[in-house]
């Protein structure tokens, strides 16, 4: 996912703001994050970015 698209995203459960967890990024191509993790600062849930795609399913559906 492109870094600037984070502003559009919200936690699918609590709708809190998501942030890119910088230390989780293991693969990047330009401004695209290929492997990494998003974090909801409100409900403390993590969402992986796999193969460039943020997995924004509620945890029980993964």
């Amino acid at each position: 996912m492109r870094r600037d698209l984070i502003d559009l995203l919200a936690c699918p459960i609590c709708k809190g703001d998501l942030i890119i967890e910088s230390e989780s990024i293991s693969k990047e191509e330009g401004d695209e994050i290929i492997e990494g993790r998003l974090y909801c600062s409100r409900c403390k849930e993590y969402y992986p970015i796999e193969d460039g795609v943020p997995i924004l399913l509620p945890p029980e559906m993964r």
Partner: protein
């Protein structure tokens, strides 16, 4: 009481299996029914406004791509691979829990998606939330009461895709939209006659009740 969506006891998991297993067959349908697809696309296009749009249940991007919608949500990985290739920014997610901020879009589209949702009402509430005030929600679906809807319902158990589907009538969809706070409905219809006989892009008509494929355009209120 009519329950829209799955049974209470069903586990709430996205219905991705047929799209994962039979994605090539899904894609082939659009080739083999080219004019059915183009007729549906033409009716949907009529309702697409300007601005930033999103497709929920974007699938392989067959509708989003020609309609210039570049953001989508879909739970199926195979479908996401296909829509990503068309330049659509796709997120893995479901209609019941849409991963976008409130008031993010001018319009949202769902095409042949409501039949696969676990909870249509929750999904419509979510679409309402992510739309800007006065934003539009455009829904394309096979009307349960149309000739095709009746045929699909009868043969449902034999279809790898529709076995897991729940079909709705236009009135049922409008009732659900109203409960989610949408107003001012307009409908158009297309797909007249048997699918196998359709060899041109059909002209769509106002209203519903004749065509098998109905498109509804509803608005979010200006204020809460």
């Amino acid at each position: 009481m009519i329950r829209y969506g799955g049974r209470e006891t069903e586990e709430k998991m996205p219905k991705v299996e047929p799209f994962e297993l039979f994605y090539d067959r899904y894609e082939r349908w659009f080739e083999e029914n080219r004019y059915v697809y183009l007729s549906e696309l033409s009716a949907i296009k009529y309702f697409i406004p300007n601005g930033r749009g999103v497709e929920i249940g974007v699938g392989s991007g067959r509708f989003a791509s020609p309609l210039k919608i570049d953001v989508g949500v879909d739970p199926s990985q195979r479908m996401r691979e296909l829509s990503s290739k068309k330049g659509i920014k796709v997120y893995e997610g479901v209609g019941e829990n849409i991963p976008f901020e409130d008031g993010s879009f001018d319009y949202a589209l769902m095409v042949t998606t409501i039949c696969f949702l676990d909870d249509v009402q929750a999904s419509f509430n979510e679409v309402n939330r992510i739309l800007k005030p006065r934003g539009y929600f455009i829904i394309g679906f096979v009307d349960k009461e149309s000739s095709l809807g009746k045929k699909y319902s009868l043969k449902k158990e034999k279809s790898d895709f529709y076995r897991i589907a729940t079909f709705y009538s236009t009135q049922e969809v409008i009732d659900l939209l109203e409960k989610s706070g949408f107003i001012s409905y307009k409908t158009v219809q297309t797909i007249f006659g048997d699918l196998g006989d359709i060899s041109i892009v059909q002209d769509f008509e106002d209203g519903h009740g004749k065509g098998s494929f109905v498109v509804i355009k509803a608005s979010k209120r200006a204020f809460k």
